[in-house]
Symmetry: C2
């Protein structure tokens, strides 16, 4: 993927976050700080934190937990102790009672002592690894978002949280499917191995050309659609339960951690 920004922005996570904090970069983070783990962010009030944590534990493929902050702390002590989750992402989404009400570039004014932040692994990690192995990524080629679909598979519920598994789809040439599985399986904290290969009807997906999130991509002759558990799952499930306040990253505008990708590669 060629990304103009990646040529101009610092490649060290801490320097990139400093620029973001100062308001110098409010764009997506794909292709930035290559080689470092990026993360989905979900912030919830303490009253909802147990259900959400349990949902993640019970559904590790869509919800791979990288870190949970201490109650009231916006500091990710394990993945980036020098960072502040209120200011160090390029863009956020703020939801009240399940409704999107704002898309700010920092959330200092929203922070409260009863909030907990969850950082979840993100597909960028395994996509970089797939690309390095010469496996084509159609949505990169098309310059669009990966297509995502609600499935007929139910997640394991937890307290007030329940809902379907959301998957992302990447068309892979038949001869490279096995390799794509092997490679992604090495990153359990980035959704791991696919959950389904081939016929989308088996997942209850009626039409690949009409994704529920992201953009449709063409599937060429000799390619199979390959489906991975998607980090949109926990967000969709949590929003459906309408918590009074929930803050997430804006799509594609992830948190860049200090962890090199090798740190989340399976032993």
């Amino acid at each position: 993927m060629t990304n103009l920004a990646s040529q101009r922005l610092p490649s060290a996570p801490s320097e990139l976050r400093r620029l973001i904090r100062r308001g110098c970069w409010a764009g997506p983070t794909a292709g930035l700080a290559r080689g470092y783990v990026q993360a989905n962010l979900v912030i919830l009030p303490a009253d909802w934190a147990y259900d959400f944590l349990l949902f993640c534990v019970r559904n590790p493929k869509p919800c791979p937990l990288l870190e949970v902050t201490e109650l009231g702390s916006p500091i990710p002590a394990q993945t980036a102790p020098g960072a502040d989750l209120r200011t160090d992402l390029p863009r956020y989404r703020v939801y009240q009672d399940g409704q999107l009400i704002d898309e700010p570039t920092e959330i200092t004014g929203w922070w409260r002592d009863d909030l907990v932040a969850f950082l979840l692994g993100c597909s960028f990690t395994f996509e970089d690894a797939l690309a390095e192995a010469g496996i084509p990524l159609r949505h990169w080629e098309c310059g669009c978002n990966v297509p995502m679909y609600r499935t007929a598979l139910a997640c394991v519920p937890a307290g007030r949280l329940h809902g379907p598994l959301v998957v992302s789809m990447r068309p892979i040439p038949a001869r490279q499917v096995a390799r794509a599985i092997e490679i992604s399986a090495r990153y359990p904290l980035a959704h791991g191995a696919p959950v389904w290969i081939g016929d989308p009807a088996g997942l209850g997906i009626a039409d690949l050309d009409r994704p529920d999130w992201g953009d449709p991509v063409p599937i060429n002759e000799g390619e199979l659609p390959v489906f991975w558990a998607c980090g949109v799952t926990p967000q969709a499930v949590a929003l459906a339960a309408r918590p009074p306040l929930m803050i997430t990253h804006a799509p594609g505008h992830m948190f860049v951690t200090d962890w090199p990708v090798s740190r989340v590669e399976r032993e």
Copy 2:
């Protein structure tokens, strides 16, 4: 390991649990229902469940989560949907404010609607695998408990819960240490690979002959002490925080799940 009981008691988990429920077996479960995953049990009030769950997530080696029941439910829906955690373990320990007050064979009278049960993976799973690979287990040979030690390594704290890592020690012949590591690494839900090999001083252990729990075992010429994260860790940490009520299995008297060991073997 020869175990008289294993010759007389049923080998199917559900049948063994039925006998235990009827009060016909109140002994340890080592060697029973071979080939099935056994689990540590920790029951806490809802007010403590978030801290404990987060502690487990942050310290997966000593606290490998197999299952967390829904609030108020004693049914392990995932690992043994036909079981009841109030009656299906041979013996329990009941603690109030951190003090042991009872060791009953069932806890129906203690159960409350605000309790949550945690099932954590247990070393029996990888010990069976080590034994099958021809690796000697000294505490089996001696017919005693595995020696366990408090270390100078701090666990990652979570809320009110903090404390040292507890490890178990098994002396392994030098030429088999690598194999023992490979085999146990395949079972991340049973503490996984060792945390330390060799000199106990590096863990802050002063004297291997004086374990903090269990029994001392001799280390023969040509053997190295090998240390694994131990499931006593979460119990010790939780008790130190003195929750008003906490119920666990009695040492060695584990919960026998329906899961074959292959289910928790790493892909």
